[in-house]
Amino acid sequence: MPDQAVSDLTPGELRDLRRLAAIMVPASTEHRVPGADDEAIFADIVRSLGRDREAVRKALALLREMAGGDFSRLDAATAETTAMEMLARGGSTVTALGRAVLQCYYRDDRVFIALGLEPRAPFPKGHQVEQGDWTLLDAVRGRPRMWRDVDGGGR
């Protein structure tokens, strides 16, 4: 678990968030990916809350209220039902919670590799892009002028 001084979340909030993250983005053997509760991914999430920290705390408080106490102690079926009910409410708080989880999940090396992507930053290697089919523009080149020459400057 991450250092609480870094995370600024209480132990209870950390437990609830980790359980919630596992439901939001679960591990999948079929897709060969860890869940968002994976130790390294979760540490990244907590470390990177940044501008979303207070919104995430609000979401966790709501979750705790809906769970009637510790969300992390609910049985699997109840936890999933409660989590999905909370997430379905939407709004800026849930959006911030989702952003906090997804921005870290989708930069993990294992997830990138499972998606067939190189685990690297865009710079300095960049990407190759094919030119595409420029002959398609031939259909447009012959069109008559479309702009209105109100001042007569286009004569």
């Binding site: 897709h31 501008r51 997804l102 921005q103 997830v111 710079f123 960049g126 398609l136 447009v140 286009g154």
Partner: protein, 545 residues
């Protein structure tokens, strides 16, 4: 010297300059560069910092997360020490800006359309708003000069524009553009590769684009033309001085009603006075009215240059709904410049559509792995739980996105005022915006959304997602709040950017726009700034008469 607070407090005074420019963004940089050849003593005060290429997000694995953090387009979310807050609670459109050397060009897509000739004559042609006091043909040489300095990729021959010659070949169509092009040809509608201020070849010392993809939050390669790497190096070499971390609080006036200089906070937070013979404001459509209104004094109780009452009014922000579609094959995703082409099929007025004026359709490639998940989750397209991974794999690098860039007409009630409570880190009152979407714009958006759906269907999208009601998607371009015009009773500056009220005060940013067109504004903002600079140079002998 009279200040807004009515006091003559002792404060350090700097050496007088001939020209003081407030703001180093798109227009401030252009005007500084142009005036440099006069050999006048020119100083620019910028509240932000220089941004090093190594600081841009694409250098690191957190490149997508940082677009929601220190490189967010919203100053309220970004909240750098160099930002000022904007109360935009009473507006469905949010503010986009960047405070640093280069201003908004550091954080823009570099989509670089010009305004069209008809955009300057909306009253004459369509009976709405007002004509501009300048026209396309007057600005054309300045468009061309700006294209040369910035470096613009594109293709000559677009039938929707007067002929002009971009300086570099267009960005690749790629797989995504090819899909769009096939769809547009099927529908028989106009499209053309966009003018984009991205170097597709080595250009004027800048490296060519290597398709980092995330152009908006800054280009680590330096291929995107932000003015910190185009105009500013040349202006500095020509002798212009640029001071960063200097935030201007107010413009002062003397007993003759002329601007005498500015009060600003230096990097140490010390309040100083900078005297100047001439003041040029280049602080954008929010920052400029904020500064003018905060410069109210006994001589100018309603704000500086505001005898018309027009300062802050007529805010235009370009409502811009975006329509997503998903296809069943992988296309470019985030691995190339975001914008690829435009359509002007619905740009010029056609009364049968039920609205006046029109819009550009802007065709975007996809987005990156994290951002695809975040935006799709927020829009309700991507589920949580067991089905998350399967659904995600149908989306990543399979999205198309059409943006509807609507012309926003000026309305007096859409405005910038000074918030009675909110202040920046120096205690300077912050701006507040009040904005509503007009019926004409709403009809225009509805029309554009319907056409976008047709395009996405023609492109083979199996799933199409409309923007939720009320979600307009920023950009939040900032235009129109200190409009130009011939009549001092109804405009703030004259036809060449000089204040009607204060003869040595000029405004050169997007706030002087009379109408907004349906295009990204940077190209026209800069052409207009170069035009004003040229007028200043030609009229130096009697500039303040």
């Amino acid at each position: 010297m009279t200040t807004a607070s009515g006091t003559s407090a002792p404060r350090p005074t700097d050496e007088i300059v001939d020209v003081l420019i407030i703001g180093s963004g798109a227009s401030g940089a252009a005007v500084a560069w142009s005036l440099a050849d006069t050999r006048m003593k020119i100083l620019c005060l910028e509240q932000g910092d220089w941004i090093k290429p190594t600081e841009f997000p694409t250098n690191g694995r957190d490149w997508e997360a940082r677009r929601y953090a220190d490189f967010d387009i919203s100053p309220n979310r970004r909240a750098r020490a160099t930002d000022y807050p904007v109360n935009d609670d009473n507006s469905p459109m949010k503010v986009a800006n960047f405070n640093g050397v280069g201003g908004g060009t550091v954080l823009y897509t570099a989509h670089f359309p010009r305004m069209h000739p008809s955009d300057f004559r909306v009253k004459t042609l369509d009976g709405v708003a007002d004509d501009w006091p300048v026209d396309y043909w007057t600005l054309e040489p300045y468009f061309a000069e700006n294209d040369r300095v910035m470096g613009v990729a594109g293709l000559a021959g677009d039938p929707s524009y007067p002929l002009h010659q971009p300086t570099m070949p267009p960005v690749p169509l790629g797989r995504t553009g090819t899909r769009y092009a096939q769809a547009m040809n099927k529908l028989g509608w106009h499209w053309w590769p966009s003018d984009i201020a991205v170097a597709t070849t080595e250009y004027d010392g800048r490296a060519k684009c290597i398709n980092l993809g995330h152009c908006t939050p800054g280009c680590a390669q330096g291929a995107k033309a932000s003015v910190d790497i185009t105009y500013w190096p040349q202006a500095l070499r020509a002798g212009v001085e640029l001071r960063t971390r200097c935030r201007v609080r107010e413009i002062t006036t003397n007993e003759h009603g002329m601007a005498s200089g500015v009060v600003y906070y230096d990097p140490s937070g010390v309040e100083r006075f900078q005297p100047a013979e001439m003041v040029i404001v280049a602080a954008n459509g929010i920052g400029t009215p904020r500064l003018l209104l905060n410069s109210a004094s006994a001589q100018h109780p309603n704000g500086l240059a505001n005898s018309s009452g027009q300062v802050g009014r007529n805010l235009m922000v370009h409502p811009w709904p975006q329509i997503y579609g998903y296809i069943d094959e992988e296309v470019d995703g985030d691995r190339a410049p975001m914008t690829v082409m435009w359509s002007k099929e619905f740009y010029e007025t056609d009364p049968s559509r039920g609205f006046v004026r029109g819009y550009t359709l802007q065709f975007a490639r996809g987005t990156g792995p994290a951002n695809e998940a975040i935006t799709s989750m927020a829009a309700g397209r991507l589920p949580w739980g067991r089905d998350h991974h399967r659904a995600y794999r149908t989306m990543l690098y399979r999205s198309l996105r059409v943006g509807v860039a609507c012309e926003d007409l000026p309305e007096a009630h859409n405005r910038v005022t000074i918030d009675p409570i909110l202040k920046d880190s120096h205690g300077i009152p912050a701006p507040r915006i009040d904005y509503t979407v007009s019926e004409n714009t709403q009809r225009m958006m509805d029309h554009g959304i319907a056409r976008s759906v047709e395009i996405l269907k023609a492109a083979g999208c199996h799933t199409i997602h409309l923007p939720p009601p009320g979600v307009l998607n920023s950009p939040g371009h900032l235009l129109g709040t200190a409009r130009m015009g011939h009549d001092p009773d109804h405009s703030v500056v004259n036809g060449w950017g000089r204040s009607h009220d204060v003869k040595n005060l000029f405004i050169v940013d997007g706030s002087i726009w009379v109408t907004s067109g349906g295009v990204n504004p940077t190209s026209t903002i800069q052409a207009l700034a170069l035009y004003i600079a040229d007028n200043i140079k030609q009229r130096l002998a009697n500039l303040f008469d």
